[in-house]
């Protein structure tokens, strides 16, 4: 089984899906000759040509809007929004159109569309190249929101997303692109959209995360293990639909829950998980449901000192874990 980074796993997933099904095409800014600003689509333009790896005009609304139309005309578009920070002009097309077309047509039309968007910070991207946008979109019924954390999951989930008859927002944490490596099987496989994954089993407390924070949580759990605390780390993988069964089963076993995300706390996705646990696992709790998130400032600043102050870290997560374990 070859080892590769998360970015290579996504590229391989795209490549294999394009080879297997001529309906799959890529549409976004700089995805062609340049192979994307992060090089995710590198080599695909040469392999599949300009009619399947298409450089779009610099216009996010029509990147998504045109892909919606294309999806309704028997193709399988994979749109790339260059940075999740730039997705706002496409919000109308994603929320009002893609997510509602199946429902509003009473099941007549489908939008099999994948929108890939690199998100997250810690790479000196400042306010407009670091944002986490999942909370805006996880709110929307009709849309699926996927947030892989490992190369294996990223490739398997991407293939599932391309085959899904619904619009899928596929959020790739840009710091994990080259930082996170893992083994990816050579044979064809899928990771289903929906189920969470217990990345580290444990007994004393349950921690829920996704993206880069999942890895920070695993690091913190390792630290806590040395201190004699057994932390279960669960990778949500999919925010919508959410695997409520796995979340609740874990909390009922450990009696303690911590949710970690990089997005700011207020109205963040962690609130939904916390509410779920409070409502359905209240009797099992031995401590408060805790959350760690980015601070409630508009976005992540550029200066290293400010960026570091914004980002949750393995150390800050470990502190919260210790506090929770002490209950």
């Amino acid at each position: 089984m070859p080892e590769m980074n998360l970015l290579e796993a996504i590229r391989q997933g795209l490549d294999e899906m394009m080879a297997a099904d001529s309906r799959v095409f890529i549409f976004g800014e700089d995805v062609g000759k340049r192979g994307g600003v992060f090089r995710v689509t590198e080599g695909l333009y040469d392999k599949y040509g300009p009619m399947r790896v298409i450089d779009s005009p610099l216009a996010e609304s029509v990147i998504v809007g045109a892909c919606i139309g294309a999806a309704m005309n028997d193709t399988l578009p994979v749109a790339e929004i260059q940075f999740a920070d730039f997705i706002a002009p496409a919000f109308n097309q994603i929320v009002q159109e893609a997510a509602r077309i199946h429902y509003r047509s009473n099941g007549d039309w489908e939008v099999p569309l994948v929108i890939r968007a690199p998100y997250g910070g810690g790479i000196h991207g400042a306010l407009y190249h670091s944002q986490s946008v999942e909370a805006f979109f996880a709110h929307v019924p009709g849309l699926k929101v996927v947030t892989p954390s490992t190369p294996y999951d990223a490739k398997g989930l991407l293939k599932s997303a391309i085959e899904d008859p619904n619009p899928v927002l596929f959020l790739e944490h840009k710091k994990t692109y080259r930082l996170i490596k893992g083994f990816v099987p050579e044979e064809d496989y899928r990771v289903p959209i929906g189920p969470a994954d217990i990345k580290r089993p444990g007994e004393d407390l349950s921690v829920f995360a996704y993206g880069l924070m999942l890895h920070y949580c695993l690091e913190a759990a390792q630290t806590l293990a040395a201190e004699g605390v057994s932390v279960e780390v669960i990778d949500l993988r999919t925010l919508r639909p959410l695997d409520t069964d796995t979340i609740l089963a874990s909390v009922r076993r450990t009696g303690k829950a911590l949710i970690v995300h990089e997005d700011n706390l207020f109205g963040g996705f962690g609130g939904e998980v916390a509410a779920l646990i409070a409502e359905h696992a209240f009797e099992y709790l031995d401590g408060p449901v805790m959350r760690i998130g980015g601070p409630d400032v508009p976005a992540m600043p550029f200066a290293h000192s400010l960026e570091a102050a914004f980002m949750p870290s393995p150390a800050s997560i470990a502190v919260a874990m210790r506090r929770l374990a002490a209950y």
């Binding site: 029509v62 809007g65 139309g69 193709t75 099941g107 007549d108």
Partner: protein, 342 residues
């Protein structure tokens, strides 16, 4: 590249060589759309239909365009005034009335959307929403997919002149132009976006003037002249199927009603204008043309009106009798079920 319709109309012969029965068919669809529309207002004022938004005054622009398209092959994305267009494309009067009454069997949405948000996959009528202009981007994407697949269907999309202020109008026309996509952009310019006049919407005299900014033909046509619209659309379809790219058509129409059943246009439209619009009725005009050329006798016209009235009666009765959606279907079709792999 803005072309005046006077040049287009220079082609010889009345009716662009369309057979007489086709010309009468065009009129029949215009009359049917009008009769359905008028009945909807009656039903609204009688408290039986919560909302009506009209096609009155736009019939020629839509029927003319529709007859230049290939039914069941070309995609159409009509905005909320597209009643005449969807009738020609195959939606039945009963189906239209099912939408008005929000019945379970409404083909557009099963009673989920407001009336006039047409859609039907079988007929290639693409489902529409209420935020204006989003469908223009979808049309460009349908054209993009068609080009990728190597097919020769076209996407026809309509919108009002107010919608040309939206970013999606610009983004979609630009994309379609860059890639020479088979799309026909029909702006039905009735000079009003609810209450706001075209003068406050754009500084150009004609929406067609904008074509030049995208490097595509922009054609302004009298949208109350069904044959003129047919001819410019026919040429645009030919151009699109040849792979030469999109065309922007401005069909200058009249809005013969208020914006919707919840609007009162007397609060912003001068009385003489409302009277004037009544004298620009595209149906009256086409009847006169057909009469003049001996294609429609008075008896035939009366028979057509009677036939249309009977159809509207029957459609209304059938739709009113149809069941409402069951409350438990509220949760249906949030997500499409997985499909077998190809």
């Amino acid at each position: 590249m803005t072309v005046s319709i006077n040049e287009i109309s220079a082609s010889p012969g009345f009716g662009h060589d369309l057979p007489a029965h086709t010309l009468r068919d065009m009129l029949r669809y215009m009359m049917l759309a009008r009769a359905l529309d008028e009945r909807m207002w009656v039903l609204n004022r009688a408290g039986k239909a919560p909302f009506v938004i009209s096609c009155q005054g736009h019939e020629a622009a839509q029927v003319g365009a529709a007859f230049a398209l290939s039914r069941g092959k070309d995609f159409i994305l009509p905005y909320y005034r597209g009643l005449a267009m969807v009738l020609v494309m195959g939606m039945t009067p009963t189906e239209v009335m099912l939408g008005l009454f929000a019945r379970a069997t409404d083909p557009s949405s099963g009673g989920r959307q407001m009336p006039a948000h047409y859609g039907c996959r079988r007929l290639k009528i693409v489902t529409q929403s209420s935020p204006v202009g989003t469908q223009i981007a979808h049309a460009a994407g349908i054209g993009l997919a068609e080009k990728i697949k190597g097919g020769d269907a076209v996407a026809w999309v309509s919108f009002g002149e107010g919608t040309t202020s939206q970013g999606d109008f610009h983004e979609a026309l630009n994309l379609a132009a860059v890639h020479r996509l088979p799309v026909i952009f029909q702006c039905e310019n009735n000079e009003y976006a609810i209450s706001v006049h075209q003068r406050q919407q754009m500084a150009v005299a004609s929406v067609a003037d904008r074509g030049v900014a995208y490097g595509i033909p922009g054609i302004s046509v009298d949208g109350t002249d069904v044959l003129a619209v047919y001819e410019v659309t026919r040429r645009a379809v030919e151009r699109a199927r040849r792979g030469d790219g999109p065309t922007l058509i401005e069909a200058r129409v009249v809005r013969m009603t208020a914006h919707s059943s919840d609007d009162n246009d007397r609060t912003y439209r001068p009385p003489h204008e409302i009277t004037l619009v009544r004298h620009q009725d595209p149906i009256v005009r086409f009847v006169a043309q057909l009469r003049e050329h001996g294609i429609l006798s008075e008896a035939e016209e009366q028979a057509m009106r009677a036939e249309v009235a009977a159809i509207v009666d029957q459609a209304t009765e059938e739709a009113e009798r149809a069941p409402m959606p069951e409350p438990e279907t509220l949760y249906d079709h949030v997500y499409a079920p997985p499909r077998p792999r190809r």
